[in-house]
């Protein structure tokens, strides 16, 4: 008998598949899709889009372009701001049958502490993901997530502000991602998410000018799966925290591989654009793949590569 139940640090998950921030919006999906999302939520936890202290309109369009087996985006953290998120969205998310993991990003290092503090008292929030790695914004001058010292400090500020389950989301756009994972661990993270999107760019086939309004963007989808799998493998071997693996997860076979590479849970992003509610389907298929391999639990699977 295969069981998919798993523990991500202090969070109990009914299966190891969650959504990646910015790619699935339950409040919108509930309006548009034929599905009873507040009763049968397809993922084992819900991660809303990243919010920041101030509302952000995001980058100039176009913001999307498809590349070979990949997607470039330059959304630029368009969001309503953490205050509206807390006032309008959180109460509605309270009735979800799964843990909610808020995602926050800072314009300055201090913001990670301030946002965490604002969420600290909210019961609806089970965990907080610090997005220190969005490639589409230059908050705080240069990317904070490329600098171990500042990543550690942002984490420590959040850690001091809240006792919630704290996840730091790492960027692959660095010489050594392990160094950043170690910085997050030193700062007091409970978990790391690996990986955010990979720096990329596309030109319009006809005009030969950058397609994206923001010139460059972040690459996601199956194209980056090998990059993500390596990062998960390296990070999970180097630090003692649980890892949420993501980057191109599209099939149950991908879930299996990320878990084997060392992830304790796996997030689905771009694949939600091929199938808007992949969580439950992938979990079902994962059971089959584990069964034929004689693997009974996620625990047995994690890190077996």
């Amino acid at each position: 008998m295969v069981t998919l139940e798993t523990k991500l640090g202090s969070l109990k998950l009914k299966h190891p598949i969650i959504n990646a921030s910015g790619t699935f919006d339950v409040l919108e999906a509930d309006k548009v899709l034929q599905a009873d999302l507040f009763n049968e939520f397809p993922f084992a936890a819900y991660v809303p889009k990243t919010v920041t202290m101030q509302p952000r309109t995001g980058n100039e369009p176009p913001r999307l372009y498809e590349t070979a087996a990949g997607l470039l985006n330059s959304i630029g953290l368009a969001n309503k701001g953490i205050e509206s998120f807390i006032a309008e969205d959180l109460p509605r998310l309270a009735s979800l049958p799964v843990p909610v993991i808020a995602s926050i990003a800072g314009e300055r290092t201090d913001d990670y502490g301030r946002c965490s503090e604002m969420l600290a008292g909210r019961e609806e929030v089970a965990g907080i993901e610090l997005n220190v790695s969005c490639p589409n914004v230059e908050l705080d001058g240069k990317a904070l997530g490329c600098d171990p010292g500042r990543t550690e400090r942002a984490t420590a500020l959040a850690q001091a502000a809240t006792s919630k389950f704290l996840i730091v989301k790492l960027t692959p756009n660095v010489t050594d991602i392990v160094e950043l994972a170690q910085a997050a661990a030193s700062g007091g993270a409970d978990c790391v998410s690996v990986i955010n999107t990979v720096h990329g760019m596309a030109l319009d086939p006809w005009t030969l000018k950058p397609v994206l309004g923001h010139t460059t963007g972040g690459l996601s989808g199956p194209a980056i799966k090998p990059v993500a799998l390596r990062a998960v493998y390296m990070v999970s071997h180097a630090i003692d925290l649980p890892v949420i693996g993501m980057g191109g997860v599209t099939t149950a076979q991908d879930v299996l591989e990320f878990l084997a590479a060392g992830a304790t849970a796996v997030a689905v992003g771009t694949a939600s654009f091929r199938d808007p509610l992949p969580g439950a389907r992938l979990a079902g298929e994962l059971v089959d793949l584990m069964e034929v391999r004689g693997i009974d639990s996620v625990k047995e699977l994690v890190g077996r590569a």
Partner: protein, 258 residues
């Protein structure tokens, strides 16, 4: 625009016909639920089902026509996504999410002018029929680059259609923005419905304002999710960025910041 949103879902649909219409491709597939629900101006996110991860994502395509259980789309092969969809054959399967978006609002009254540019004509056939069914006097102005595209005008069947081509190879020569004001006045049209390239839509918006008509325009944008989740398909409006997929694709012309 449009009425209450109708729940969309993911459908696995067999292709039953694929044939060229000039330089476009008309593809019909079985999709009972979509056929029952879709309204004029709504769209679908369509991709080939199968092993390949390239093209990766579905492409937004307007609902071109409905014939009992069959849904029809009209494809202009411009890039790898549309080319691969245009190369599918009978028996291949599509993954289809929809119907999506608000569609055109049909609550208005009075004579209606439909304006289509290039492949923007695709979703307007359904609209022409719906307006006629509502007893509204409807005329269509369709503009194309050249004859190869303009033959798609035949898909409008019984509708009152006038065709323009930029090179004069079919119908009258010129851009539709030229006859537009005159046509509006002659028809005493109360409302314009338009879909096509941005410069055309901007011309429609200007003319409508000048002539005191209202206009609904269906805009285009690159999309990923199609359901309002990713913030990727935004266009500039007077209220700031709005999503083409879930706030649109149809907007009152005066809301768009051209």
């Amino acid at each position: 625009m449009g009425d209450l949103p109708i729940p969309a879902s993911l459908h696995d649909c067999p292709v039953v016909e694929s044939r060229p219409v000039g330089s476009y491709r008309l593809v019909s597939f079985v999709a009972r639920e979509v056929a029952a629900l879709a309204r004029p101006g709504q769209f679908l996110m369509v991709r080939a089902a199968g092993y390949s991860l390239d093209p990766l994502l579905p492409r937004p395509l307007g609902v071109h026509d409905i014939d009992s259980d069959l849904v029809k789309i009209l494809i202009e092969p411009v890039g790898r996504g549309t080319m691969s969809l245009a190369s599918l054959r009978v028996g291949d399967r599509l993954s289809v999410l929809g119907p999506l978006g608000n569609g055109f609002s049909l609550t208005g009254a009075g004579p209606a002018l439909i304006v289509g540019g290039g492949i923007g004509a695709a979703p307007l056939t359904l609209l022409a029929r719906a307006l006629a069914e509502r007893g509204r006097h409807t005329e269509c102005l369709l503009g194309f680059k050249t004859r190869g595209q303009a033959v798609a005008a035949e898909l409008f069947r019984n509708a009152d259609v006038e065709v323009f081509t930029e090179d004069g190879s079919m119908g009258s020569e010129g851009l539709i923005s030229e006859p537009l004001p005159e046509c509006l006045r002659r028809m005493e049209a109360a409302e314009i419905f338009a879909c096509g390239p941005d410069p055309m839509l901007a011309a429609v918006a200007r003319t409508a304002r000048d002539c005191g008509a209202s206009a609904q325009v269906s805009v285009a944008a690159h999309m990923a999710c199609g359901v309002g989740a990713c913030q990727g398909c935004v266009i500039k409006t007077r209220d700031g960025y709005r999503r083409a997929c879930s706030d649109g694709p149809v907007f009152p012309a005066e809301e768009i910041a051209w």
